[in-house]
């Protein structure tokens, strides 16, 4: 059990005890990690039902929390998410585990780097990508109090320390490109840019995208997005936020490819160019195109 998942199961168990509005819906995955509770519903390996049941609970005023592995939570029941929650205008907190390649050894079936792009294509979702268990705690607890549609993407990769600001948190200022690291990519991004004259900022909530905060924090024309999911997922958001400013964008993330490898998460991270060396190489090439550091 990793730090973030472990924290989630403890927080969810506490929420069931403390808040009569909260109910949990599982499709087998994760159910064994929590103590039994009358408002914990395991529907078996039935993901369409899992989302429909959450919608029905929300229809009756409850606050359903739905949990599964990323592809089985977001992709398998995608139309249920679109209609049973979105079109019905019902709320739920979806919490995934597995991120893009936590299950590197399990192959493509258990990897879902496209989850955020798919969910972000539907209106009204708040999307959190915490980079630390403490951030998960803050964001999950806040989400339980609302009645909106929230997706929380947990990851086995975490940063050394949490950052609790909303929107864009500037960690280091420089005169070169503005590097915006999302969630668990921050550690590798900081390592990649240690000796470079760049600004490094952090973002744990990519939707709604913080247009105003980006505009406020940005000094120069160069933006580098580092996202732990499909490359370019937030590229259109950056374009929209900066539509009146000449700018350049390098959008790093998991490439859109049928990636047929097993092995360790670190090997996947490196293959996708999301380790410190890969981020640095991409950043330097991006800078060279306009002689930023010359």
């Amino acid at each position: 059990m990793t730090a973030m998942r472990d924290r989630f199961y403890r927080l969810a168990a506490d929420a069931l005890e403390d808040d009569p509005r909260v109910a949990m819906v599982f499709a087998e995955i994760g159910v064994a990690e929590m103590p039994k509770h009358p408002r914990m519903f395991n529907v078996g390996i039935r993901e369409q039902l899992m989302i429909g049941v959450a919608a029905g609970l929300a229809l009756e005023g409850m606050r359903p929390v739905v949990h599964s592995y990323t592809p089985f939570l977001v992709e398998r029941p995608y139309e249920q998410i679109k209609l049973d929650l979105g079109h019905q205008d019902l709320g739920a907190v979806l919490v995934s585990t597995g991120a893009s390649y936590d299950a590197s050894h399990s192959g493509r079936t258990h990897q879902a780097p496209e989850d955020i792009a798919a969910l972000a294509a539907l209106p009204g979702w708040t999307i959190h990508v915490p980079g630390h268990p403490d951030e998960l705690e803050r964001l999950f607890t806040r989400s339980l109090a609302g009645d909106d549609r929230v997706y929380i993407r947990m990851s086995e990769e975490t940063n050394d320390a949490p950052f609790h600001g909303d929107g864009v948190v500037v960690l280091r200022e420089g005169s070169g490109p503005f590097v915006l690291a999302v969630g668990p990519t921050l550690g590798e991004t900081l390592a990649a840019t240690e000796d470079l004259d760049v600004t490094v900022a952090y973002l744990a909530t990519p939707r709604p995208f913080p247009d105003a905060a980006l505009r406020e924090a940005l000094r120069g024309p160069d933006v580098v997005l580092v996202e732990p999911y499909l490359a370019g997922t937030s590229a259109a958001e950056v374009s929209r936020a900066l539509r009146d400013r000449p700018h350049r964008l390098l959008a790093l993330g998991v490439p859109n490819a049928e990636f047929r490898h097993y092995g360790k998460p670190a090997e996947h991270r490196a293959a996708h160019g999301l380790d410190a060396a890969g981020i640095r190489a991409s950043l330097l090439e991006f800078a060279r195109l306009r002689d930023v550091f010359e």
């Binding site: 039935r46 429909g52 029905g56 009756e60």
Partner: protein, 212 residues
Amino acid sequence: MAATTTLGYDDLPALLTLLTGDEKHDRSSLSTLDVLWVLYDRVLGPDDRFLLSKGHGPTAYYAVLAAKGLIPVEELPGFGRFDSPLGYHPDHVLAAGVEISSGSLGHGLPIAVGAALAGRRVYCLVGDGELDEGSNWEAVQWAGRIGLAALGAVVVDNHSSTYHWPGGIGRRFELEGWTSAHADGRDHDALQQAFAARTAAAPHVVVAEMRR
């Protein structure tokens, strides 16, 4: 739902005319009319929910809701227009008397399961063709195994499923732990009896047979 009867069964043809502009109504396109009427007139209690899963062809549904004062009669002639709350598939955000939006098949029963888990007595209408969608069977299987007695379903069986249901629809629900009752889909007393056959131990399905 909370209904105050304003109009009766005999007023439904006039309400349908307001919706479609047609003076004559093809019975086969209104396969749900009598089932809906019996539910709203005789079965649903003030705290019960009715979820129309088979949202296709909702004129019978709108007519019954209007007869029961759950949507304004004045809205009926606007059916399908740009600004109308009443479209070819119902939208509960637009029309207050509509309890779920539907149109895409196989979504109502899973939502009904969730509402029933929360303690609500729910009735969900599905079509025999709609049962092709596997999502229904996820709901039927699980609700039966856990004995979710607050859940009721009615299958309007007008034999529209291309590959049919050999062995019978009711029997399939029974195998999963439901009770089932069969009724002529035009016989109001028989339908009322079939709905009343529900028990406190299991979900209950009424198969409403529509003869051609």
